[in-house]
């Protein structure tokens, strides 16, 4: 197998996971105007739940399902318990200032991240542990030549593809999905047409929780699981979201795959220790060249 194909296949599989993370970030950003820095903390926590269930002899798939459901619940909980009371305090002097309205939710999400990490440490001793995958991580063979793609890679790509198809159907064909798009575009008009914007926002948090907990389940068989493993994934997902356009769902997926290829090619052709620097350079480049992202619409400065 040539290095190029190796990098390409592993980039596709990694990119699929990054696309999920970035999709989760963009969903919350579009529906609530918050970049959720606790997102991968939530995913870490639900993956630990799955790991615990598997240890207690539950099957992989039931643990998988429960992790996804708890991801949705955790996302909704963050919105209902924290973000909603926070943004409803319009009269607070601090939130009157323009910049603080975006800063305070960011700080709040960091608080959640800290609490979730500490709780994971307390419940599960914080040591690194493995996480099983439902398919063998061996390279696929055609005859005698083994391909650079593993069965697990195919599983990841398939799962993400299915998720993306379901998400697209949800947003284009169902009333709930249309309501979400409407309230992201113009909450005031949406409210006037009888849609409960608050609940639509909570739904956005829940779906984002599902996407990120899925990402956690898919990435940990390779990276192992510890309270800090998924931090890197958040950084990559954020960069992917910015590259694709924070305001565009399709852009976030595109950004995820681009980042997957960038990281994979840096890994293969350069050295793994260059990955961080590559991410930073790529992010800065994207911000300078096209701050609204590849598919994002140009933001209008509010006057």
């Amino acid at each position: 197998m040539t290095p190029f194909l190796t990098a390409f296949f592993s980039g596709t599989a990694q990119g699929a996971i990054y696309a999920l993370v970035s999709l989760g970030l963009v969903l919350v950003w579009r529906s609530a105007g918050v970049v959720n820095f606790a997102q991968m903390g939530q995913a870490m926590f639900t993956t630990y739940i799955a790991s615990q269930l598997i240890q207690n002899n539950y099957s992989y798939w039931s643990a998988f399902l429960i992790a996804i459901i708890s991801g949705a619940a955790l996302g909704a909980l963050v919105d209902l318990g924290l973000m909603r009371p926070l943004t409803s305090r319009k009269n607070s002097q601090l939130l009157n200032s323009q910049s603080m309205r975006t800063t305070i939710p960011v700080i709040a999400s960091l608080g959640i991240l800290g609490v979730l990490k500490a709780l994971a440490g307390i419940f599960w001793a914080g040591e690194e542990r493995g996480f099983p995958s439902p398919v063998a991580p061996n390279a696929i063979k055609i005859g005698d030549t083994s391909l650079a793609i593993t069965g697990f890679d195919l599983f990841v790509i398939g799962t993400v593809f299915l998720t993306l198809v379901l998400t697209t159907i949800f947003f284009t064909k169902t009333g709930m999905g249309l309501a979400m798009r409407a309230s992201a575009l113009n909450p005031e008009v949406t409210r006037l047409s009888g849609i409960k914007v608050g609940w639509v926002r909570t739904l956005g948090w829940a779906i984002s929780g599902i996407a990120s907990s899925l990402a956690g389940l898919l990435v940990t068989p390779r990276t192992n699981l510890s309270p800090n493993t998924l931090d890197l994934l958040l950084i990559i997902g954020f960069t992917a979201a910015v590259v694709g356009g924070l305001s565009s769902l399709a852009g976030s997926v595109l950004g995820g795959f681009i980042l997957g290829y960038v990281i994979s090619f840096v890994n293969v052709y350069s050295a793994p220790e260059n990955v961080f620097i590559a991410i930073l350079a790529f992010l800065l480049l994207a911000l300078f060249l096209r701050p609204q992202g590849i598919l994002g619409s140009k933001e209008v400065r509010s006057v």
Binding site: L94, G111, G114, L232, T239, P291
Partner: protein, 335 residues
């Protein structure tokens, strides 16, 4: 920073406050064991970094999750100046301010184009990437091993003056003058015309620009000042013994932000309070729980849990922090 000098509010008030804090630390250190003295020195260093957040977020509304990385810039530049060029520690500290301010200039030029969430994310990426640069260019930055630097021994004239002092006490004496000057500078800045300009940008960019304030330039200036402070803090922090990637982890950036928020983002007194909390809280919790039979694996996560919960409670119940709550109480009494 030159604006401060030209303006008349180099107040008696801020001079006194800085002196009082200076003396308070020295008096406190005389009552303490060496361990607590080193903690006091830690507070004095980290306070400078927390003040940089008070400037950046509290006064101008920009958020940085990467102050720890800027501390690393200050730490590495001072450590390299001392170990490679043989400069004196004091000169290296002052040069570290300039190096990190220069770094802040580049960062600020990027940041001026970014609003809240973009800036937060970009600085967070930076917080992760900068320590890895030290590993990448191992021959220059000594990789994971890091550079060993320390405050050295107390000079003879000082030991002649006050008698034998411990290494910990000496570190406190080195750091305190810097802390006092930093405090003085920040107090003056926030009371001056410059500080008011920053607050105008924070509260309403459009109104500020209509009033003739150059938004982009203002944001860059704030970044330069805050980075200089953070770099100084990082240099002092590194000279406790080691400048290495592990000394400036991402968690450090978040802890500093927590300190600023708990105390109150808009208050300098709040910054002092918040810094005391993050340094002393872990010990207090350890003492409080030592009698309870808590397994060690749980115990090591309790400080992080408490600090995280404190941050959340502050943000939900009282986003203006301890200082805001105090002001609220005082206000109530008057009426």
């Amino acid at each position: 920073m030159s604006k401060v000098k030209t303006h008349k509010v180099i107040g008696l008030h801020s001079t006194l406050l800085s002196l009082v804090l200076f003396l308070f630390f020295i008096l406190l250190s005389n009552q303490f064991e060496p361990y607590n003295q080193s903690q006091l020195a830690n507070i004095a260093m980290l306070l400078i970094a927390v003040l940089s957040i008070t400037l950046l977020t509290g006064a101008s509304g920009q958020i940085s999750l990467g102050q720890g990385a800027i501390m690393a810039v200050g730490g590495y530049s001072s450590a390299l100046l001392v170990t490679r060029l043989g400069l004196s520690m004091w000169l290296a500290f002052i040069l570290a301010i300039f190096v990190s301010a220069l770094f802040g200039l580049f960062l600020g030029l990027a940041a001026a184009r970014l609003s809240g969430p973009y800036l937060a994310g970009t600085t967070l990426v930076m917080a992760l990437a900068i320590p890895s640069i030290a590993v990448r260019f191992e021959t220059f930055f000594s990789g994971d091993v890091g550079l060993s630097v320390d405050y050295g021994m107390p000079p003879e004239w000082l030991t002649n003056l006050v008698g034998e002092i411990s290494i910990e006490e000496w570190s406190l004496y080195v750091v305190l003058p810097f802390t006092a000057v930093a405090l003085f500078a920040v107090l003056n800045l926030s009371n001056s015309r410059t500080g008011r300009t920053w607050r105008a940008v924070r509260d309403n960019e459009v109104a500020a620009s209509l009033a003739g304030i150059n938004i982009g330039r203002t944001k860059v200036i704030v970044f330069v000042c805050a980075s200089g402070l953070a770099g100084l803090a990082g240099a002092l922090y590194g000279f406790r013994g080691l400048v290495a990637p592990s000394v400036y982890p991402t968690d450090l950036s978040l802890t500093l932000l927590t300190a600023a928020v708990i105390g109150g983002l808009r208050s300098i007194g709040g910054a002092i309070f918040g810094t005391f909390v993050i340094v002393f809280l872990p010990d207090l919790i350890e003492k409080a729980t030592s009698n309870l039979a808590i397994p060690e694996t749980v115990g090591i996560y309790l400080p992080a849990l408490t600090i995280g919960l404190l941050l959340l409670l502050t943000v939900i119940l009282n986003p203006r922090g301890a200082a805001g709550a105090l002001e609220h109480l005082r206000h109530k009494k008057k009426h």
